[in-house]
């Protein structure tokens, strides 16, 4: 069923794609965040946008005197570092931070709250210090009336890096070529509206989410550039990209009220760690106990690390569309000495495409369809079709498989959804 809202979403996505693909933004690391050992955060308010046009009051942690942002700045630290987080409170209620998974957190200043020491309303400060003893993916969030404050946006990610670069943990099973944060949350706008109307302690027992977000954005804004000017309070994007055979590290955080079954189209992912601990039978055995899954839930407050790769093996046809000089496929193509693409499996090399695609007037085209079934190839499309895939990549939706969560309120598509882009080996990634 066509909806006008979808058109608007698509225009937004088009704008996003143009931003991404024209390279007008400076290259930004895939996991955007702040590094160091001392972080100065400020709790403040601002407005976040949903892709169908909603705007809602939110609270969040800002980096220093910067804008409030949701999620809060991703704190990226090295294993063994003594980390200090100084929190200044610009909100009208006390706030704090807890660091689940960290031990020996020393809170100083402020006043004692229920879970930790808190910064007083309107200018109070508090400090937290801990040693980042173990590598992994963690979250941090407010420990003060968290049912309201986490819903309002006072939450973020903490990444502790091991000594070995390019790994999530101290084992090669966690090695990756690209890493991406998936901070999954949900939102009940009634709570935000109540706070905006001045009720700082709204009832949260009737929480009913109608928005679902990755890294603080609803689709298709998820795929817009990091730091997009029209999303000043939602600086983090999520559009994973890779080449065939490369390994993506998924750092997933259950940051909302509900769990969300996250489905990776294209292939399974191997779960290597939960809550910052490798799934190991013994420290030297890496992630040997990790299972492969095509759908994984990060329940609220938990984290999951997984490795995703895609090779196209056993496809039964040559997805590069290799052919001989006269268009030959099969053995004649092999005999013609047509070279393998980097990393291509010999088993399917030169094998012809197995079916005839229907004529174009019988088809509906996706915006990310290149017009060709082959990787790195472009085909002819009717005017106005396609356009979001200028290099002929393969795209796969990664999304919540509780499918009601891929809407923005009543507008489909949206919500907890993004697209994985697999580019031809010769194409540089825009969002590495």
């Amino acid at each position: 069923m066509k909806r006008t809202g979808m058109k608007r979403s698509l225009l937004t996505a088009l704008a996003a794609a143009v931003f991404l693909l024209c390279g007008t933004m400076p290259a930004i690391a895939a996991i955007n965040g702040i590094t160091g050992t001392t972080f100065n955060l400020t709790a403040k308010s601002g407005y976040i946008s949903t892709a169908e046009g909603g705007s809602y009051l939110a609270w969040g942690y800002a980096n220093g005197n910067g804008l409030m942002q949701f999620p809060g700045p991703t704190l990226i630290v090295n294993q063994g570092a003594v980390v200090t987080v100084n929190l200044t409170n610009a909100l009208a209620v006390p706030v704090s931070i807890v660091f689940p998974g960290q031990t020996g957190v020393i809170a100083s200043g402020g006043s004692q709250g229920m879970l930790t020491r808190e910064a007083a309303a309107a200018g109070g400060t508090v400090s937290y210090t801990f040693t980042a003893s173990r590598p992994g993916t963690y979250t941090y969030y407010s420990g003060t009336q968290p049912d309201v404050q986490v819903e309002m946006g006072l939450a973020g990610a903490l990444i502790v890096r091991p000594g070995t670069p390019g790994q999530a943990y101290d084992h090669a099973d966690s090695a990756f070529d690209h890493e991406y944060l998936f901070f999954l949350s949900d939102m009940d706008p009634n709570i935000h509206d109540a706070v905006a109307a001045g009720n700082l302690t709204p009832d949260t027992t009737s929480h009913f989410a109608v928005y679902w977000l990755i890294n603080g954005r609803t689709a298709p804004d998820t795929m817009a550039a990091a730091g997009a000017a029209w999303l000043p309070h939602q600086p983090y994007n999520i559009m994973p990209m890779m080449h065939p055979g490369e390994r993506i590290l998924i750092r997933m955080i259950g940051a909302g009220r509900d769990a969300h079954p996250f489905h990776t189209h294209g292939n399974h992912h191997r779960i290597i760690a939960r809550d910052g601990r490798m799934l190991s039978s013994a420290p030297a055995n890496g992630a040997d106990l990790g299972e492969q899954a095509f759908t994984t839930s990060a329940v609220p407050g938990s984290t999951v690390d997984a490795i995703y790769t895609w090779t196209g093996d056993k496809m039964g046809w040559d997805f590069y569309g290799h052919a001989g000089p006269g268009g030959e496929t099969g053995q004649a193509c092999v005999d013609a000495g047509v070279a393998l693409a980097a990393g291509e499996s010999l088993a399917d090399h030169c094998k012809p495409f197995p079916v005839t695609l229907p004529s174009q007037e019988t088809l509906t085209f996706g915006q990310f369809y290149s017009g060709s079934p082959f990787l790195g190839a472009m085909g002819t499309l009717p005017p106005g079709e396609g356009g979001f895939n200028p290099n002929g990549g393969f795209l796969f939706m990664w999304h919540s498989h509780n499918e009601k969560e891929i809407v923005n309120f009543d507008i489909f598509p949206g919500g907890l959804l993004t697209m994985l882009l697999i580019e031809h080996p010769s194409v540089p990634l825009m969002n590495p």
Binding site: M1, D288, V355, T362, T364, P373, N402, K404, V407, M419
Partner: protein, 399 residues
């Protein structure tokens, strides 16, 4: 005012132009199946030869009706099996024939599988012109063109056919569903079971497995089973379906399921071994043909192929009185990367939408009788306001 003569002449010219236009000659039902000459997706006609290692199937995608266990009639979208139907008859056969769940697809690992999907349109919603797809949920190393996710590929319009190809690369319990406007089409019922059986089937890995049937290529017989049954979790929000057939705006975020089901039925319909009575509203076509009654004799190993295509909630299933051995998750055998068997015994499994479990019930030493499989989220044991129903079925163990 009656249309003028010139109107009719003009209309005739337009119609003639349409019929003569080359673009119209290529639309239509078009099965692609190697060795099949008459387009019925099988090799029953003289002169046709089934190539080795090849399987074909033809699905129609359209709308239809199903009956909830409390008698509530529900409008739905879905698939029906038109394999063996002549191309000229596919539209008539497929219209209003949607089944819930759709026809089960079962292929052997490594088979060249050609699945043709024909969009027969939604008879009850002539205002819609939705395309459809088949998403082979969970198939590894997929290509976008055959993934059925319409943003990244193509979907098929009414009156035409699209053929998908897979080699069924890895054994396990999968699902398939339409991915077009997925929240809507899946809530409406375009869902079904999809299983890939392993190459190890029919072989003897040196263990006691008389059936020679296995969930995976385990190498040691540890996933041996005697009988397998689908346990696919679905649920309907009757408000959504009722609004749909009434051509009303649809509530997406407010979707709230009130008919929890297994294989397209609520208890006690789940234990009916026959097709449910066909609704008159679809012309009397059987639309709920999958029974959930699980039967076995003492000593048999019962494989439950558990999957969820719920669009809203997580569900937890338990079997009262028989331990559940989980041997696979998401179409992967539970083994460590070094080969250690990680299967485990439990009393429940929890599934979000898009997850599958392979659960074996070993009935050796089990007292004959009737056992229950049901959702432990007990509010799901209802058919809307009718109690003693919903997501439950029976396991009958006999001597």
């Amino acid at each position: 005012m009656r249309p003028s003569r010139s109107f009719w002449i003009g209309l005739s010219i337009i119609l003639a132009a349409c019929l003569l236009s080359p673009s119209w000659t290529v639309a239509g039902v078009n099965v692609q199946c190697p060795g099949d000459n008459d387009g019925d997706a099988q090799w029953a006609t003289a002169g046709e030869t089934q190539p080795g290692n090849t399987q074909c199937m033809h699905l129609a995608a359209g709308d239809g009706f199903v009956t909830m266990a409390d008698g509530h009639l529900q409008y739905m979208f879905g698939f029906s099996d038109v394999t063996g139907v002549a191309p000229a008859d596919v539209m008539n056969t497929g219209m209003l024939a949607a089944q819930f769940p759709g026809p089960t697809i079962k292929v052997k690992e490594g088979t060249n599988f050609y699945l043709t999907l024909t969009n027969v349109g939604m008879v009850m919603r002539p205002d819609l012109f939705d395309p459809h797809t088949v998403h082979f949920h969970g198939f590894p190393n997929a290509a976008s063109i055959f993934d059925g996710e319409p943003m990244a590929s193509i979907s098929i319009n009414m009156g035409s056919s699209l053929t998908y190809y897979y080699t069924a690369p890895d054994p396990g319990t999968y699902m398939y569903h339409c991915h077009v406007e997925a929240t809507e089409h899946m809530q409406m019922g375009m869902l079904a079971n999809l299983w890939v059986t392993p190459l190890q089937d029919g072989t003897d890995p040196g263990t006691n497995c008389a059936s020679q049937k296995f969930v995976y290529n385990d190498g040691d017989g540890s996933t041996c089973y005697d009988v397998d049954f689908p346990v696919q979790i679905h649920a309907f929000d009757s408000n959504f379906h009722d609004l749909h057939v009434a051509v009303q705006p649809l509530p997406f975020a407010l979707m709230k399921d009130n008919y929890p089901m297994l294989n397209g039925r609520g208890y006690p319909d789940t234990v009916n071994t026959a097709a449910l009575p066909a609704p008159g509203e679809n012309g009397g076509k059987d639309s709920q043909i999958v029974s959930s009654l699980i039967t076995a004799t003492v000593g048999q190993k019962v494989l439950l192929r558990v999957s969820s295509l719920s669009t809203v909630d997580y569900y937890t299933l338990t079997v009262l009185g028989i331990p559940m051995k989980v041997v696979g998750k998401d179409a992967k055998m539970l083994r460590s990367s070094t080969g250690t068997n990680l299967s485990y015994l439990t009393n429940s499994v929890t599934l979000g939408g898009g997850e599958t479990y392979d659960v074996i019930l070993d009935t050796a030493g089990v007292t004959p009788g009737t056992y229950f499989l049901y959702a432990t989220d007990l509010n799901n044991l209802s058919n809307d306001s009718q109690d003693y129903g919903g997501m439950m079925t029976e396991i009958v163990i006999s001597l």
